[in-house]
Symmetry: D2
Subunit: 379 residues, 4 copies
């Protein structure tokens, strides 16, 4: 008899849809998953909208108050797919009710929130995972594997740029993402935290950063009141350099002002024995070169990461049949459910979330001070 | 109250999994679909396997005899996801029971089967669609739109190559796809029929072909009896040239012996006003050049076909979040269910299936005769 | 003391400029060349133009009648850089005067010319080379080397397309290249002969072809009399299939009507152990995949063919400093001068030129007959 | 009667060869150049080697002491193709003898040298140019043109990485480039100064930088004494961030430790109306996207920068016939000779050279101090 686990989710927009899809899909493609998720309830403040979402996305019921959701006895796992300002209260309450947690990134708006969340989930002894979904792109897993196997050698360089164009049109109205109160941070907190986590996953911990954050477009129209403008009080672009604990050096860039770059989360790694190049717009591919190939036939190999031997891939389709962006969420839910089954928190843990947040804050502080800052990883 | 439509599927392997996924997904992403499919039963001869498939893939029940499935009163739509030799009997029986039909490609093993299938579904007045899923790649839809809008001008050239490597290892055991009795044809019937349909969709009807089919690897081990070999009596590669009704000329190539090409279904179109380049391994991209761009800034535009304005795309994710291969099936089921709702058969119809089969047979005959052959499109 | 060889050239336009450059450059980059060429005289009918060309291109003097040039005692090597209709008379006269010959492709307008030219140079015992310059792209040499070493295994497929857009504008005036009297053939003779030679170089001899030639744009303005039009009596596009002596099969396409393709001479080779992909617009690169790479790191290697180990490359610049199109001519002249030094005709010989011409004619005849034609290689 | 200008060059190795080629080629391809260069003498300390170089590279004679060369009455222009430590003494002496100067980059080892050189050439009133050759890649010129025409809009981002692998092998012996005494700086001075100049050319002046330089491989074998090692006292990699006077922000990276990157000088520019992407390994291409293209057909245009309308290109070959790395030197010499003709120093001037050096030093100082540094542009 298949074991099941009851899930309640907060949020029904972009992330709510992506997470819901993962719960619907996981057991169909990963039948060995430790639990089949039962999609009990979805939560949002707008009753009409959340009821429609429940129907569309496959949830048995809905709630309009997350406090009720986290208190329900029939829920085992709380999924937090809402804007950043809600992560802390929902996660804390969920943990206090003994629920496992799947929390969208970034973990929190600031370190004080992150520390409290970590403390509470530790105290509660629940499984609590942050959804840094790009760790679960099969090509990124292959990069990790090659590094761990020593195929790339000593890592010298990490170079990443997460480029989007969503902020490039100054006539696009302001949203919660451009408001510090709700988002905590701008491109750094939204995009930067993704690449910080990827860098931590692939290279290791960051010991110091220096950088700058900037806001090129400082006023935006208010939706529904286009003759008024709202002030953007978070960054729309940021650059920073980093030193890693293992001796590597890194450069990071995030921006919402890169025309033509839709979701260009890209990185390159150079090591003593090889290099790796990736970008999310071609997420099924990894480019890798090995120094020990004979020079006349040495070059970046364009690997279509759809072979059965690649992590997560055998669950899907035969080689050459590419997967999409949302599959990374299904991989995450698969690992989460297995983690709950085994009692082991899969990465990214709340410690990972906190450490990424510590780097975000170090970047912001270095932008203010103009100097190198060591992230404060204290928990 | 949402209208529903009951579905029964024959086949639970590669195609059965892909079709099942589409039924599960369609209403979650296309809530305006005319019917929500109800996944009533899946059918296969191996009871244990088909019961497990029903559970995994989300079907309410199962059958072990397709004759029973097509006779069930509670089924509205029969989905045929089995090897080619079953398409004819299942489709004919389904139509005779008044069921709508969704049939995997190729329509049939030969023209006599195709003609009978067309006649029966016409007689029955059911909606009957062939799953040429690559028509429903958003990038292919964009190609079609640009051609229809006249942006490419008069079409001169169609050039396609569907390259796979699945047959390149001579030690890989023989399967039904290498046996004429089951598959009808080899690379021509499996891959060729896809590119013939794409050519018909994008360029129009083919009036004559000359070509060759060949079998490079003629003996293969028998699975489970590796000391014996079976004879491959279908082609593993084929080439042909074509003339189109609109005056264009075309080249076609299909092979299962192209090392490094996993699922490289590629085409290029050259017209008087522009060119289009596509390949399925990067199915989210279309490369297009327009002759009337100023020469100093003219070049192939690499379009990431994930914008809301692109067909099917707004159902999924924001721009830059790519989709995978299986999404094309969901698009097809969406169109099919809407077609059943409106009483209009969506392409590819059984006529399209028959006409593609006519070209397959013309290629095979030209390979034998060494001369140009006009496809016999008679129904 | 450096040995020298005196050169006279016929033609001062596109090819004359490219050949002249090669004579100027060869000894500076290949100081071990058997002879330093002395650029004695350039020949053209327009005295003012040819005098200017002599000055600009570095020739000591000029002639206005090629008959005088080929008769000059102080000339050792005649370079034929003129349109195709002059190749036969100039080459025959040059050989009769005992001159070595470097002849632009195609060798001749037709087989009767080709046979006569071959017979005369054989009789004269001179070194006579046809400038199929794409053999001497370092990346093409690497392809050849990999094939010869068995790294690609048994060759199954040759697939090439030489795409240009020069003929796509119907308002572009007619030139000698669109007139059978001068050019002998259209896209087949101009572009097709290049890819036929590449196929022969890389795969081997062609035993049969079937194809079609067509002329999409049949009338063009006459330069200087734009109210009149001239009739294009050669093809502007052609397609053909081929069988090779070694069992491989091939597809060929040439067109001058491919918008956006400037000089896209491309090929792909699939063998039992690997594949090779090349295009001339990125002539410094070769893409190669090896079947025996482990599946998780197998993919096309993008090789920047600028390593010292690559043929011809060490004469130029350090790795990563790319060369241009014209360098292929310098490589050809280098091999020619060494061939004269050693008494061995370097490929492409006049036999190669004749055999390529035989395939051109087989393509043209198959286009007329609609059937497979075996090239008539008789000399 | 063609005007001529007499040239003497110091240096006969990599740069000497590349510059010599440009003098040989310029008048053949740019017949309108103001002067035809006469290649009078090449200078090097090793008499046998320099005599051979004179013969091979096309110089009338040679010298073994640059002091004699710069003093010769029959020399109009001194070309400095030697390591960085000689730039200052040779340039100063040349200017004092009233010679025009073409100086390899970087201008000098440090600012004091650069200031002296600038002062002396100003005093002498000679034309003095620094060879930042990448300004003269046609694709880079196209980038500049698009920016100047406002097609990219307000510039937000400059992002560049000049990646090589030449230093990645720790067994490669030490050269002058790894010694501060001769090179002044490592990757920053060698590669960084190139990208600083490109950034200044395309974006404008840099107002502040913060960065780090590092030396991953600190000991290398000594050629000819492999049991001993020499100390690398310059950087082999560097990263820095920059603010530009026009409000843009930039990231820069240079390294000699990037496996698989042969000569990957790459940049991306994001502006309010478009983006530009370039890399030197594909120097004939520029990728450009325009924000005002309709979304369904918007994407990076891959422009093959070989059209007659592109700067410098019409001198060479028809569209689609790519040029190589060395052509950039010919373009520079063309502009220099014309500058001498018109009495106007073409960029990069010695002021440009000094300003690039000022940024190099600011990077080095910021690496030491950990803070943002404003370049000291004082002359």
């Amino acid at each position: 008899m298949q074991k099941t686990l009851n899930v309640g989710i907060v949020g029904y927009k972009f992330m709510g849809r992506a997470h819901s899809n993962a719960y619907r899909q996981v057991a169909a493609f990963f039948p060995d998953v430790a639990f089949h998720p039962v999609m009990k309830a979805i939560c949002g403040r707008d009753e009409e909208a959340v009821r429609a979402a429940a129907t569309q996305l496959g949830w048995e019921g809905y709630e309009t108050d997350w406090r009720k959701l986290v208190a329900r006895d029939d829920i085992d796992l709380i999924d937090i797919s809402t804007p950043s300002d809600t992560h802390n209260p929902v996660a804390v309450a969920a943990a206090e009710h003994g629920k496992h947690i799947f929390c969208e990134k970034p973990l929190a708006r600031d370190m004080s929130e992150a520390r409290r969340m970590l403390a509470v989930v530790r105290q509660a002894g629940v499984i609590a995972m942050v959804n840094f979904n790009y760790r679960r792109v099969p090509a990124v897993q292959l990069a990790k594997q090659l590094i761990d196997e020593g195929r790339i050698g000593q890592i010298y360089h990490w170079r990443c740029a997460y480029l989007q164009e969503g902020g490039a049109d100054p006539q696009r109205p302001i949203t919660w993402r451009q408001q510090k109160e709700h988002a905590g941070s701008g491109a750094v907190g939204d995009l930067g935290v993704h690449v910080i986590d990827l860098a931590r996953f692939l290279i290791g911990d960051i010991t110091a950063v220096t950088g700058l954050t900037t806001t090129f477009i400082k006023q935006r129209p208010i939706a529904g009141a286009e003759d008024q403008t709202g002030t953007v009080d978070v960054d729309d672009a940021a650059l920073w350099l980093a030193r890693f604990a293992n001796g590597a050096i890194g450069s990071f860039e995030v921006t919402k002002l890169a025309r033509g770059r839709r979701n260009y989360n890209s990185f390159e790694i150079n090591g003593s024995k090889g290099s790796i190049v990736f970008n999310l717009e071609r997420l099924n591919e990894l480019n890798v070169v090995f120094a020990d190939d004979p020079p006349e036939i040495r070059g970046f190999r364009n690997i279509l990461v759809t072979d059965r031997s690649h992590k997560y891939v055998s669950a899907w389709w035969p080689a050459g049949h590419i997967i999409g962006w949302e599959h990374t969420f299904t991989h995450g839910i698969y690992d989460l459910l297995n983690g709950i089954g085994s009692g082991t928190t899969p990465a990214a843990t709340f410690v990972d979330g906190l450490r990424a947040q510590a780097v975000v804050e170090a970047v912001e502080r270095s932008s203010g001070s103009g100097s190198w800052i060591e992230p404060d990883y204290s928990e």
